[in-house]
């Protein structure tokens, strides 16, 4: 089972697709959660996800806006997609009927 932050990273990486790399994922997580995401948390969690086989990372090409430094590119594996999907379904299931879920439906 994924952790909450692991789920956020996998989802952000899946959303970014081909453009998923460290700084972009960080920005995506920050804009979704409205909270800061530290580089330390990002890269240590990516390492953990890679060790579990949920993502694959590699060094990308350097770009001028990064001062000629390379990116750490990220791709979600099939195993990672399955784990994220299972986490999402569990969250949906466990949230059924709770006050914030019903009020969200009512607001809709």
């Amino acid at each position: 089972m994924l952790g909450e932050f692991e789920y956020l990273l996998i989802t952000a990486a899946a959303r970014l697709g081909e453009d998923a790399y460290g700084a972009a994922i960080r920005q995506e997580v920050e804009s979704a959660t409205k909270k800061s995401c530290s580089i330390g948390a990002l890269y240590t969690t990516l390492d953990r996800l890679e060790n579990k086989g949920f993502v694959k990372t590699w060094m990308g090409d350097p770009t001028p806006q990064r001062g000629g430094r390379p990116k750490r590119m990220v791709r979600v594996t099939a195993k990672g997609s399955e784990a994220a999907s299972a986490f999402y379904k569990a969250v949906v299931r466990v949230s059924r009927g709770v006050s914030w879920e019903t009020s969200r439906v009512a607001v809709r």
Binding site: R26, T44, R66, G67, P70, R72
Partner: protein
């Protein structure tokens, strides 16, 4: 302030792997973090990485086995050799006679040579094992090993009251604790240990033949040191007409064994690797 933060962030980045260092530099440039934010981000990552390294058994083995055990034993043995050498020099230089300690000149020379050679072997081996076990935690284990090597016995004697520091404020001594001032033997032993650390980081392991050679040399030198130390013990007992009892052989042997264990570890790990290769059918 900005400059200091940037300089500190760059300095901290050195603790990361080169590839990750470049990625983080790029991320910081892209996100346009301020110098203090960059410093805090880098410090957070380095802290997490360093903490993660300590979840492995190797840095702990280095800390306990080498800093806590081998360096303490080496510190004691080096200190005693320094005392003997300086005593001989202080007598020989002005009077042209060797210091009367119950041993003949030949016995003194043999004893000093055996201890010097053994110390160099123990120091190099300890350094090698420290480097191979610690690698990226070497900045901490290496510093502690160095401090334990040059200071631990001296501090132990001071705390037990055997060395009395006169009317000097203790705080003024602290800078000297970082320097190997106890004597020539300390400097040579420290240099030998640093050489071992450097080689341990680079080559990580010893081939079986070299490990066996090192173990043989360690056993021979340890036996010689144990034997020649016995001369001094007997001489002191005879000189004091039995008032001073020679130390039991176990007490004399213990620090030598504690200083020798890294050679045993290198041999055991070389044999284990050899067996693993044979099992895989590589040899």
């Amino acid at each position: 302030m900005k400059r200091v933060s940037r300089w500190m962030a760059e300095w901290l980045l050195l603790a990361l792997e080169p590839a990750e260092r470049e990625v983080v530099r790029g991320d910081l440039a892209e996100s346009g973090e301020t110098a203090s934010q960059a410093l805090s981000e880098v410090a957070g990552l380095v802290l997490r990485r360093q903490t993660a390294m300590w979840t492995d058994w190797r840095p702990w083995a280095a800390l306990i086995g080498l800093v806590g055990i081998a360096a303490m034993a080496l510190s004691r043995l080096t200190f005693l050799l320094n005392v003997d050498i300086s005593e001989q020099f202080r007598t020989y230089w002005p009077y042209g006679e060797h210091s009367e300690n119950g041993l003949t000149l030949t016995q003194n020379v043999i004893s000093c040579c055996c201890r010097s050679l053994a110390l160099l072997t123990w120091a190099w081996t300890s350094g090698f094992v420290l480097g191979s076990l610690s690698k990226r935690t070497i900045w901490l284990t290496g510093t502690l090993f160095y401090l334990a090597l040059i200071d631990s016995f001296w501090v132990r004697l001071t705390l037990s009251g055997n060395i009395v520091i006169g009317h000097v404020p203790l705080i003024s001594i602290i800078p000297y604790l970082a320097l190997p001032l106890a004597g020539a033997a300390t400097i040579v032993v420290v240099l030998c240990a640093i050489w071992g650390i450097w080689q341990g980081i680079r080559s990580h392991t010893l081939a079986l033949q070299r490990a066996m050679l090192l173990m043989t040399a360690t056993v021979v030198l340890t036996s010689l040191v144990f034997w020649t130390d016995g001369w001094a013990e007997c001489a002191h007992e005879a000189w004091s007409e039995g008032l001073w009892r020679a130390l039991p052989w176990q007490t004399r042997l213990a620090p030598l064994i504690l200083a020798s264990w890294p050679a045993g570890y290198l041999l055991a790990s070389a044999m284990w690797r050899r067996r693993a290769r044979l099992n895989r059918g590589e040899d």
